[in-house]
Amino acid sequence: MSTTIQNISLSGRKKQVSNKEMTFLENLYLVAIVKGLLITIKHFFRKKVTIHYPEQVREMSSVYRGQHQLKRDEQGRENCTACGLCALSCPAEAITMKAAERKPNEKHLYREEKYAEIYEINMLRCIFCGLCEEACPKDAIYLTTSKVLVPSSYEREDFIFGKDKLVMPLDIAMQNAQLKNAN
């Protein structure tokens, strides 16, 4: 029983170690060196794995969580109603917001009567866990749609992103709406 277990090789590459003396030819190491040289020269002609970064950009995974985006609906109105659930769910306490009431002449800007006057995310605190996205009842905040990484900067203040950087641009919202209608 025990012998059979010892002979099992999970990786399929199990090898018995032997202590046998090397033959004269092996002692010269020349054969081994030539074998090694052949292995390295094979790599010389192999396809290179490098991605030339600034020119070629590696494709992001469809579920990659990058910079947040506050979404607009088909008519270009902001979805966010400043309910504060995202700020509440945020484990890093990175989100701050201030709610305001919508004026009658702002109906084309905001979908519901309440909207976020200030919406700020501190990108230095954010851990990109995506819990805000899960908490949002209005489909307003997404980390997967912007497809951008938070850019680097020298000043800490530059990492507090306001609505100017977070809200989805209007033309993209309209494009999305057109695409939806076409389908």
Partner: protein, 343 residues
């Protein structure tokens, strides 16, 4: 000594000097490219096309680096070290025949700085002086790692010079001359020495690796144990000189290997080219042939570097004293017997 002769020689010396420098420069580029390719990467490719301006950028960087010198009592020796390393590396190129003669302006111009009859001895002498650059630099650095690197370099050089000299004797018994030009001329056609003296070639090749401090014999500067060995304390262009000297040495030893064993500037059909196309074309092609052989050897140096790991110190000594020297002596004896039987 007419003035035309002096001008001719000055031009040849200048060209040889420039060639050695440029080759050493581009060897650093080639080293990085070959290393990258052997590891499935692409290597430097930003400065110029395919990174061809990279050596210039590296040189500029080394020149603009801070000139640091350690607290050593031997300030003079600290500067002399890299100077010796660099000058000996460049001196060897004087006796290498880069090609047969060109016929220009009604004169025969030898493509060689000087054709002395004991060229091979000269090379051995200059190469052994080269180790003083490393030893003095390591000693003057006032640093235990540098000193260890220097001691290793010295003992390695002493051990392998013996085997190298003995391997040469077998070759010299065949050629009967020390002049590199005559040795090249004897190998006309495909009459290359490597076919008659394969063992001698192998020993010489291994010793050449050791003499130029290349992997697997780079114990003098092994980064992982001695943090750079003898050039640990060097910075700026003094450091650059050491690195440059290594690549110049590599180029020169490749040239010597090509001249001694692979027919030098000879290529198949050279005689036919001289008779039918012209002396100049044929001999420029001969220079190109030598150049290609040299580049092949330089590539081989790099190829081996990224294949074989460094020897342990006792393995190095074992290989030098107990394997290569007996083999070289045996080779001399076999060569002697063959010469007696077949000549």
């Amino acid at each position: 000594m007419d003035s035309a002769f002096i001008i001719e020689k000055s031009v040849v010396i200048l060209v040889v000097f420039a060639l050695t420098m440029i080759m050493a420069m581009y060897s650093t580029w080639a080293e990085r490219k070959v290393a990258a390719f052997l590891q499935d990467r692409v290597g430097p490719n930003r400065a110029g096309w395919g990174g061809l301006l990279q050596p210039l950028a590296d040189g500029l960087k080394l020149f603009s680096k801070e000139e640091f010198s350690p607290n050593t009592p031997n300030k003079f020796l600290f500067v002399v070290g890299p100077a010796i390393a660099m000058s000996t590396a460049l001196m060897t190129s004087a006796v290498i025949p880069w090609g047969d003669k060109l016929h220009l302006f009604g004169r025969d111009i030898l493509l060689q700085a000087t054709d002395i009859d004991n060229a091979l001895l000269y090379i051995f002498a200059v190469v052994s002086v080269g180790v003083y650059g490393i030893m003095i630099g390591g000693w003057a650095s006032n640093n235990k790692f540098s000193l260890m690197g220097a001691v290793r370099a010295a003992s390695q050089m002493v051990s392998y010079e013996v085997a190298m000299g003995l391997s040469m004797i077998a070759l010299l018994m065949m050629t009967g001359t020390l002049s590199l030009r005559e040795i090249s001329a004897q190998q006309a056609g495909m009459n290359w020495n490597v076919f008659y003296q394969p063992v001698s070639f192998l020993i010489f090749l291994i010793c050449a690796f050791a003499e130029t401090n290349r992997t697997p014999f780079d114990l003098a500067e092994c980064e992982s144990e001695l943090i750079g060995g003898y050039h640990t304390e060097y910075s700026s262009m003094k450091m650059g000189f050491y690195l440059f000297a290594e690549y110049a040495n590599m180029f020169i030893s490749s040239a010597i290997l090509a001249v001694l064993f692979f027919g030098g500037y000879n290529y198949p059909g050279m005689q036919w080219m001289v008779e039918n196309v012209g002396v100049n074309t044929a001999n420029i092609l001969g220079f190109l042939a030598l150049f290609i052989k040299i580049c092949g050897f330089i590539f081989f140096y790099m190829w081996v570097r990224w294949t074989i790991p460094r020897f342990r110190y006792d393995q190095l000594m074992h290989l030098g004293w107990k394997v290569l020297i007996p083999l070289a002596i045996l080779n001399i004896m076999v060569t002697g017997i063959c010469l007696l039987l077949f000549k």
